[in-house]
Symmetry: C2
Subunit: 659 residues, 2 copies
């Protein structure tokens, strides 16, 4: 393995040279202020930015690993700016360090490489930064400090710290000992009711080192940064308004060359650091693995190993519910994908990914690394924010296991993943009416619709173990953003499902049971596919031909060619949707004349099967509704019987779920 | 005013009698344990419940204001049990205090009167309890301590304290000085990584008094409870596992009479307290107002005053955007509805409800009370949880003003309001593409669909000032649960809208502009109604007759008779939906052949008008799509031209928003 540098290359130099460096920092800080003067800013933002000018300049001048010529090399320090308010300071820093793109590319996530996160609701950026620091820690354990040796810095506002998601993430950062994470923050420019002091105290209570420094004192800032580099905990640096009179910048902005030329110690230091990193990287024994994972590529022989490991794990799985299958596939994946990081919402989801599994030694030998697994307890909103940071950091595939019902709590973080189009995989358990006695009316009703409405997110709701494997694969292949598997803990009571009659689960929707000249198409997802299949058998006994369609993923199905969708859904006859969830959005597949069997209310606590009865999601209810509708639509018995000039009865308005 | 009792009637007695009382507590605690022994419980729950037995018994025996014969009298102490895990202890307490319904009615919210909240995600119950304490504080200011003199107690689990919503609510409780709120909690029964200690430290940092007591020591618990009654801050009582050997209950459960007869000091004390409260209430000068508000009834002459105040305030409003109108109506309401409590997400929403307004003195004279208003800062999830508690407490109408984008963060709390069917009003600002330059791709895209999918919630998206007033009224009249107004900060650029041609906004949907023999129905909501109206004028010039429909509230429109909906939506011709949001769910009104003009993506930051262009939500785009569709459907120019045996082109699958 390449030699690990004996000390942190970013470490501050000796006392003797401090004064010269401090004067360089002060000059650059003045220049930054002049640049800020040119920006149109509201007064409170100007106050904040001016106050943070010296601390941020000191960080950039003397500590930050940043090479303007390669703003996204993997071992750079992450400088996270979670809000648009603080972005002008990043722009000033980029200009002063001679970044060629500072003026030409707008500072937006996905456009400028130095923007690490998209601005989101307060606190999301801090949670993402915790995720980045976690990713750094995880990768450093795998590849060593010679390849992974950077820090995460956050330029936060006071509001970022006061939100629940930031507090949860802070607690997780403290628990995981993310000592390479530091947050710079300043009290609000306007009135404050002591909330800022409370925020600091809460971070301190969450296992952080909190340092209060005078934002106008170069010496205080310098020593705080030096202490941060030695810290054994995450650090919060509170930059308090300076009591000393501020050193005002000169009236004139020096020319660009003077700003970015000799004033750019960061750039020179960054370039040197990166060159020496590249030398270490070139001769690192894990170079190929590092490169592959950073580029998000699959390992060689992935498909072959994947099939083999899945078969192995599914055979070893204790049950046949989709939840068992989903976790079996995750275990299989962990055998062949060492970049997998699994955060779990509770120790109840403990997967023991690192435990030895009776698999051919070739698997383990090929990867030689264990995937990481951490429990985040009840703090699943902070966890979801962290997942985004892990995905943003690169080099890891973040997966989380949580309960379906907590998805509401994780929603703002999930939205950020969708907005930034980052690959995060959610395994959500306890789907359906399956929460049982203790649930107290907790059935997910509207969650499914609310998730399907989110752009770039793929929601998978598989019906059996085979479909779960296919959905897992499709989720891994989903390129647009996050993907989600909704898993049910209960086994289907009607026995195994037949193989697809037409199409495959990987196309989002397919025909489970085909009937020629269908009069009815039963469309279902998840555990309700088995109910629909049983209902089709019942209907067959009454001479009603019903085709059964499973749509595990609406997003994928919607992407299929219209001809495929038409073949699956049929062109005539009655369409019936069956899903233990709200009807909202189902008109997309059912049309105006469709029938929906589901639930549009919540608030019942009972065992799952009793709830299926209570909400009328049963074989009998489906058959009853189909018969009733076929009667009212003029005894229609198939497409051939329909006269074209006799329009079908139109039932306008929302679909009803109960008679 | 009736005499306020000189001391808290629940105050603990002198040291001299402590030992006798303590022995009564110990006896009752033993009986409670015996009752718990009968329940089927998982081991960790049993450990927790047994540990909390003595503290809870002491609370019920000696402090709690509770009358088993009237479990929901207004001045009772609120005993909040946020999780199903801790409910067996409440059941035991009810049995021991001789509550007649303890065994007959299941302990579920909405069924048993002693259950104050439905169990929800961890932390929601704590946030609701903060809201209850806030409601108590607010009502005590209005009606005095002779009528409102109770406390809020929470029997929490460690997970309830660790979530973001609980931390936000705790911070708000500290800020508002809710000294009549106390939380009893115990460390987890299983392994704990120091998180419990961190939670306590964070509560302490949020302005709470944190007391650690030995859960097995009657004396320690007694003095902690006594100190809680004197506290000037909200209190957290951490009941730590006892170091002393536990006093095990005897082998036999005494007969029911012995349990509930002489062992029921709570019941006797509660009955006495309630009788004296009833005497004070009978001669209280605000008796009628108190009674009316507790029953949630409107004041006399409400409708008349409301019309007058609305006219007045709308005239005084600075702008004509729905956001201005929405807040003008809120100000009007605050003039005539003193029970209104407004929590705002930021001081930017400061409404100055208490400021004197140039209204006829009769209004103010009739109510004589000022509505309450509090800013909750960035902690809007805690705020939303508090709103539920205010609604659950009774006597107040909780309203909140927040930004549309933060609704994701408040979602789990909002769901609890919908699940418990409590009236909470949300005013959400910044709707539409109106976030402007600084938004950074923050447009609400899927939020509208995700909210419409939630049962019992009514979502209003008005298009102009007149519709805003009508929607406000409909929201006040919505009985099923929470209601929400989505308000836009920008004025419609196409001038004022005409009065309804058919129907009214209060029916959820109506015809804005009627065309006979319509070929096209343009269906829109909010700011897009004006765009649709303009498009209909454009189309008219090309001899295409387009009716314009506004659907401000899907939930109300869905409740209308099918004939009304049919008249509004039309029975033939092309239907076009126009909304600056995701198409998800729009098939309900558009059918399979409809066209949707909206956006199914996010991630753009630009001024609002530029975004309307970017997403193609313009007059030109609508006209273009209408013309294109009319051409492809065989030159169809109206229902009369259509030949019945020529089926219309079916475009299956999801609606597309961009060509």
């Amino acid at each position: 393995m390449a030699a690990v540098p004996s000390t942190d290359p970013t470490e501050l130099r000796e006392e003797a040279t401090l004064s010269a460096q401090q004067s360089a920092v002060a000059r650059m800080s003045r220049a930054a202020r002049l640049l800020l003067n040119d920006e149109p800013l509201p007064p409170h933002a100007r106050t904040l930015l001016n106050r943070m000018c010296l601390p941020v300049t000191a960080l950039w001048c003397r500590v930050l690993r940043f090479d303007p010529s390669a703003p996204n090399w993997p071992d750079r320090d992450r400088f996270v700016v979670p809000s648009t308010t603080m972005l002008p300071l990043l722009r000033a820093m980029l200009r002063l360090t001679g970044s060629p793109t500072a003026n030409t590319i707008p500072l937006e996530y996905g456009r400028h490489p130095a923007v690490e996160v998209a601005p989101g609701l307060a606190g999301q950026g801090v949670a993402a930064a915790v995720g980045m620091a976690f990713a750094e820690q995880t990768l450093a354990r795998r590849f060593g400090r010679s390849l992974v040796n950077h820090r995460t810095w956050v330029l936060a506002q006071d509001t970022d710290l006061a939100t629940g998601v930031a507090m949860e993430a802070a607690q997780l950062a403290g628990r995981f000992g993310l000592d390479r994470l530091a947050v710079l923050v300043s009290p609000p420019a306007g009135p404050d009711n002591g909330d800022f002091a409370d925020s600091l105290a809460r971070f301190s209570a969450s296992g952080w080192t909190v340092r209060r420094v005078d934002a106008g004192s170069a010496a205080a800032i310098s020593s705080a940064l030096a202490a941060t580099l030695r810290a054994r905990k995450p650090t919060l640096i509170a930059c308090l308004p300076s009591s000393a009179p501020e050193v005002l910048p000169g009236p004139q902005l020096p020319p660009e060359e003077e700003l970015t030329g000799p004033w750019s110690p960061t750039a020179r230091r960054g370039a040197t650091t990166r060159r020496s990193w590249l030398r270490r990287f070139a001769r690192h024994r894990l170079r190929n693995a590092f490169e592959r994972e950073m580029q998000g590529q699959r390992p060689a022989l992935f498909d072959e190993d994947w099939q083999r490991a899945c078969r192995w794990q599914l055979r070893a799985a204790t049950g046949h519910a989709t939840q068992d299958a989903g976790f079996a596939v995750l275990r299989a994946l962990s055998e062949i994908l060492p970049e997998l990081v699994c955060l779990t919402a509770s120790s109840a989801y403990r997967l023991d990914l690192a435990a030895p599994v009776a698999l051919p030694a070739t698997f383990r030998a090929r990867t030689r690394m264990l995937p990481a697994e951490q429990s985040c307890g009840i703090q699943d909103h902070g966890m979801a924010g962290m997942l985004n940071g892990i995905a943003l950091h690169g080099g890891l595939l973040p997966i989380c296991a949580a309960s379906m019902m907590t998805v509401d709590r994780m929603r703002s973080a999930l939205r950020m993943a969708a907005l930034m189009r980052r690959k995060v995989l959610y395994l959500l358990t306890g789907d359906g009416l399956a929460l049982g006695d203790g649930g107290g009316g907790w059935q997910p009703v509207e969650q499914l619709a609310s998730l399907r409405a989110m752009p770039h997110l793929a929601v998978f709701r598989p019906c059996d173990a085979r479909e779960t494997t296919a959905c897992w694969e499709a989720a891994l292949n989903w390129q647009e953003g996050p993907a989600m598997l909704l898993l049910c803990p209960y086994e289907n009571q009607y026995g195994p499902l037949p193989p697809p009659a037409f199409g495959t689960p990987s196309r989002g929707g397919y025909v489970v049971k085909q009937e020629d000249n269908r009069q009815v198409t039963l469309i279902a997802s998840g555990p309700e596919v088995a109910i629909a299949l049983k209902a089709s058998h019942h209907l067959a006994r009454q001479d009603i031909r019903a085709t059964v369609v499973s749509i595990p993923c609406w997003e994928l199905f919607a992407e299929q060619p219209a001809s495929y969708r038409k073949t699956v859904l049929g062109t005539s006859g009655l369409r019936v949707g069956v899903e233990a969830a709200s009807s909202f959005g189902w008109e997309r597949w059912l049309g105006e004349e469709g029938v929906f069997v589901g639930m549009d209310d919540f608030g019942t606590s009972a065992p799952a099967n009793a709830l299926y009865e209570r909400f009328g999601i049963t074989v009998e209810a489906i058959c009853e509704k189909v018969r009733a509708r076929l009667l009212t639509s003029g005894g229609e018995r198939g497409p051939s019987l329909r006269t074209p000039d006799q329009p079908r009865t139109r039932v306008r308005g929302p679909l009803t779920t109960r008679p």
